[in-house]
Symmetry: C2
Subunit: 756 residues, 2 copies
């Protein structure tokens, strides 16, 4: 059709839209600006699209055509339908093979029964990319999952990239190229952030909310069921998209962890933040997600650890997702973590002070030098603290703001300045134009990022944009609490940029496929997913507690000394003094106490008797078990007990969990998790996140621990577990006893995977 779609001047509905947008036009950079063309450029930035299933009376067709007009798409569009008729001004064909020119993407929304045929037709016409809107696949249960597998098999057989099914498609906004029924929100704003969502309706909500916050989108993707291509692939594409300064992701699951991890790593190198709203905090959420897009939400605490490792910002609401991405798109990395907050409202200052801690934001006290300067600037100040209440004085003399902002910004520890003063959203609203102008001038003189802060969440409008342009105002953030949370996340991410990080040891692809209930191992060629763990050769089979401890010892983990008693004679010549702990040694017994297999505080002279009694008790409880002897170890008193466990997550590979204090772990789930391998500094960070951390710092009567040494031991436990290879399911050291600087593993357990 080429020019057959009316092309309204984009943004024409707001002739007075802000300067920030007036310079905006469809990006005409070729994709070669990426350096090399991305493997999915033809899919994500097509110059020609065929709408397969388009009819005059279909609502979807209407939405899609409206989008093409709203975005003023200037590529080629045609339609395929049963009768080969033209649709809404677009040339119609009976099949893709009839089009007679190269097409980059087939957008398929035929009934489910016709999807495979449509795919074959497209492939026959040389089309390599298809976006599939049709639903009724994995999201409806087992039967749909079978159909989805067939669809995937077909796509792989045909060598096609497929997007969806059950997806509303994607809008490459900065290229003004919609392959989607997610409506454009007009006027288009200067592109800042990309939105990637598994849910289509949510993609649309996020897009609308971003617009209401004056945050323009560069790309909006609804990935749907992700039979083949997933949100990880879009993120990978967006890493090199210059119009995308931050990526906001709404996910129910991560189906392709290898691609996701790689894309996240590349994002960090480019200093491009990924902000993630991933559901899965509750069991209910997991059930609902499964019914929605056939997702498995996974272990939420493990995902937290993965985000920590990858430098991905995790948020927990739709509003935080957009506000955080929008803030970072505007500010870039923060030079320091502290927020300097300036307001004409004392109430807003108390709200900032009150909310900062809960939000995790730092609002550091100004140093004496700063306070001294502030006091000279305004005589009747009651206080010169941060947050800074400039009171009604700034209403009488707006130039005050111009003098105060640079002083606050220059204070050490301040990485971002927030200025809280009304910016109108409707015509005729009360405003302080001289104040706004003063702010605009002030922020240009400082070398740190600044934002305007509105006290509550509201819809920013063309009126707001006009004020922003007129007074050269920085990015406007709505809502004190969302702002505080966004600043806290931005500060975390900015710090995280500096740290190097270990690669993830992802499980082999077939692990994930099994977890997802699909067999992708042969077919998902685009997303290989390899295991980079050490091979499973030469791994000892550690069949009992002592073998585990000995193996740990060989990896630099201090373990409690022990002797194995295999006879009364052994027991009589132990050569150990002090009270002893005697425990049955058997590969078949998990709970030793319950079968009479443990005796504590045994004096050496009684060892032989205790040995006899243990054997007798165990044999009477469990006649069938193999008994390898009795372990004798010295009794240990006092100290702090840690649990260190390594477990294999089906999506993310081996993780390590540290818990502190028996009661704290079991009662309060006071644990920290990280992906393996862990570094020393990460372990220190994990220990510092434990609520019971004071127990290691000389709390009450406990001795102060050498945390560096403890971290080394824990790193070694993780490495020992990795050395056991991919057949390890879990390894647990419980307890790892810490008494001041004495650190000792008292017991160890290894469980191997039953599926080989």
């Amino acid at each position: 059709m080429n020019a057959s779609i009316d092309q309204p001047s984009v943004g024409s509905s707001s002739p007075d839209s802000s300067r920030a947008d007036s310079g905006y036009a469809a990006s005409d950079r070729a994709d070669s600006s990426h350096g090399r063309e991305h493997r999915l450029t033809k899919l994500f930035r097509p110059r020609s699209i065929v709408l397969v299933g388009a009819t005059e009376k279909s609502a979807w067709t209407g939405f899609i055509m409206q989008n093409l007009r709203d975005f003023a798409f200037d590529g080629y569009v045609c339609a395929v339908n049963r009768n080969g008729v033209d649709v809404m001004g677009v040339k119609g064909h009976r099949s893709c093979r009839d089009i007679g020119r190269d097409i980059d993407v087939a957008f398929i929304f035929v009934p489910q029964s016709a999807v495979i045929e449509a795919l074959e037709d497209a492939a026959a016409a040389g089309i390599r990319n298809a976006a599939i809107l049709t639903s009724g696949y994995a999201e409806i249960g087992e039967q749909g999952a079978v159909l989805q597998q067939q669809l995937l098999d077909k796509a792989c057989e045909l060598g096609m990239n497929i997007w969806g099914p059950n997806s509303l498609g994607y809008n490459n906004v900065s290229a003004r190229t919609p392959v989607s029924s997610v409506p454009a929100v007009l006027p288009l704003l200067a592109p800042r952030i990309a939105i990637v969502s598994q849910s289509g309706a949510t993609a649309s909500e996020l897009n609308e909310f971003a617009h209401s916050q004056n945050i323009g989108t560069s790309f909006v993707a609804a990935t749907g069921n992700e039979a083949q291509l997933s949100l990880a692939d879009v993120i990978d594409y967006l890493v090199d998209d210059e119009d995308t300064r931050a990526i906001a992701v709404f996910a129910e699951s991560i189906r392709n962890p290898a691609v996701f991890a790689q894309a996240a790593r590349r994002c960090r190198e480019r200093r491009k933040p990924i902000v993630m709203l991933k559901i899965g905090r509750s069991e209910l959420a997991g059930e609902v997600a499964k019914a929605h897009t056939g997702s498995l939400a996974g272990n939420d605490k493990v995902f937290d650890a993965i985000c920590e490792r990858l430098g991905v910002i995790r948020v927990h609401s739709v509003e935080d997702l957009i506000v955080t991405a929008g803030l970072l798109a505007a500010t870039g990395p923060l030079p320091a973590s502290g927020l300097g907050f300036i307001s004409i409202s004392g109430g807003a200052c108390t709200l900032v002070a009150d909310g900062a801690e809960a939000a995790g934001a730092s609002v550091p006290a100004f140093p004496a030098e700063t306070t001294a300067v502030l006091k000279t600037l305004i005589a009747d100040f009651a206080s010169s603290m941060n947050p800074l209440d400039v009171t009604g004085a700034a209403v009488r003399d707006p130039s005050l703001l111009e003098r105060l902002i640079p002083v606050a910004a220059a204070a050490p520890g301040i990485g971002i300045v927030g200025v809280n003063i009304g910016v109108p959203t409707v015509e005729g609203a009360v405003a302080l134009p001289a104040g706004l102008a003063a702010i605009g001038r002030a922020v240009k003189t400082i070398d740190k990022p600044a934002v305007m802060v509105l006290t509550t969440v509201k819809t920013l409008t063309d009126v707001t944009r006009r004020m922003i342009a007129e007074h050269d105002l920085p990015h406007v953030v709505c809502g004190i609490d969302p702002m505080l949370r966004a600043v806290a996340k931005a500060a975390w991410w900015s710090q995280r940029l500096a740290a190097t990080s270990q690669p993830l040891l992802l499980p082999a692809a077939n692990d994930r496929a099994t977890a997802a209930g699909l067999d992708l191992s042969k077919t998902r060629s685009a997303t290989p997913g390899r295991s980079n763990e050490p091979g499973a050769t030469l791994v000892p089979r550690l069949s009992n507690e002592r073998a585990v401890l000995d193996f740990l010892a060989s990896h630099g983990v201090p373990v409690i000394p022990a002797k194995i008693i295999r006879s009364r004679a052994d027991a009589q010549s132990l050569g150990m003094t002090g009270p002893l702990a005697l425990k049955i040694l058997s590969p078949d017994i998990a709970h030793k106490t319950e079968v009479g297999g443990v005796r504590l505080n045994v004096v050496a002279a009684d060892a032989a008797t205790a040995y006899d009694e243990i054997l007798k008790a165990v044999k009477s409880h469990k006649p069938e078990v193999r008994i390898e002897g009795v372990i004798a170890s010295p009794m240990r008193q006092g100290g702090v007990e840690l649990l260190v466990g390594v477990r294999r997550d089906p999506t993310w590979g081996p993780t390590i969990t540290i818990g502190l204090g028996g009661v704290l772990v079991e009662l309060l789930a006071d644990v920290a998790i990280a992906a393996l391998p862990v570094e020393h500094r990460e372990v220190l960070d994990m220990l510092s996140r434990l609520r019971g951390r004071k127990l290691l710092q000389g709390f009450r009567n406990s001795a102060t621990t050498d945390l560096d040494r403890l971290a080394d031991v824990i790193v070694n436990i993780g490495n020992a577990a990795l050395a056991l290879g991919p057949k390890l399911d879990s390894l647990e050291v419980n307890p790892l006893l810490v008494r001041g600087n004495e650190i000792e593993a008292l017991d160890g357990l290894v469980i191997w995977r039953s599926v080989e």
Copy 2:
């Protein structure tokens, strides 16, 4: 001036505003509709106002006059200024005495140096109420506090009610009576909630935000420094205001706890919720509040306990404050706690499922009967769970919603239905009018409250109101997370309505005055603040541990048996068996172990020797202390240690704190607090809120506790503390040892107040 102010037709700027508002006109109920006239009716609903300090060039005068026009105030307004000139069309006088007619309120905004004189002038003219906007009082520090005390003294001397100073005043919106510079937000909406804020700018922000959420205000008050009248007085007035269905309060401190508690109690009787955003969670917030309105924020955990007792809803953000008040104003008490959520977006359903737990909201599973019915209504449902994703099927057949909503609403445990579907906020937005109409019809057939839920926070507009009116839609709530939090709070409040509650034992007024740094004891006649604790007569002075335990025992608290050893002879004839704990008995020693004053596991035969050694050790460490002997008690092993402490809060009176497990209390501050006296059921509730509660429920090797008996003991400890009268500062039982059903206080400490 009477008709001298132009009176635009209020709401005329939106001729198409919703039906909900079209019926709204200024309330013409006389205040006698309250049954009796409130003591502050003339202040809050004046028919005549004098603006003292009004001049043509004053910005404040402009704001206030604009407000009188915007609200179409139809009472009498005049001005007083130095030259007695007319101002902005209002008759001017040189003094209030020159006005020549009765005036209900003097609104004073003269410079600070002229305020006292203005007050005297008003009093001389027979004016009994003054609202004072002028600032420079307690909010600027000590010097201002002195001036504020003088102002208060003067008001008391003159017998006047004063509002402020440093206050923007108040708008009685439903009476269309502004005494304030807080601007009206037009069009006025049907009144639903009152906003009461110590901060003026925040009052204005809250009012704007409420309007943006389509929640009309009945009353908007900025109380400022509260030298005399406080937010508690406004709340007390609003209890009987029929246009106020919920009261939203932003507070930095509660200056008048007696009036507040009484008003809260009356609100609960009227089933009128108070929703409270009170800062004070952080130390920084306390400092900032002091500089803002001279407030002392107080102990935040105690305030939580007070809200729990009074049935006041506490929230932690501006948005939650308005959304929660707006929800309850629309729904009234919920018949059950569960939310039934219905959406056409699977993403929204996962967000609800994911966020419910963190928000504290209950989204109960539908029972099998409900699921069965739902399945018959829509064949290709993948799931029929709550939250209910009706999928795109409802787009094709909107009548589905009409059939599904009543089924979900009828499910047991469901107390409120949330329907998530787009409601337009701008002209031409994509909408599903047939769906909206179906919802409107459906909610009329159900006997439970329903709300519309928008996925994100946005500004609701005249367009929204038109849709609401057209389709008879219920209240619209914006934002899934704010909705979930509001539903959780509403459910809590609704349950709380049923429970009776003990009155607060507030400290005497001079306690509070001392705490606030002001001497109000003689002058604050309007807010007497009496102590209703038992008198301090006949109270034993408990000078040592054993005296405390004996006193507790006399109040029904089981305590560990003990004998006091005063000589070697006593020690040799103890008549106690089993290992003993020996502890020095002295009124002067707080930390017994540090001075060698404790010996554990002493066998009876060694008691005399241990007695000698303890005396010797203590005398060598602390030669100056009084020694009353040595206490001998049996050793106790195992069990769970509780801490039960009673402490006097300077604002709220005696409170009781329960903590569980030594490490949990000290490390994690795992405590529950309540105001005294506590009832049995409250103590059970407190125990259930402890994170370590499992320790009482047979966790690990601990025996299951008889919680009823434990609660009785704790109630008795509270009553024992109360019996010690107002001179008690604190009483602590630590530990209260619980071993299955054996409960025993092992140690007790009383501290008396040093100020008598």
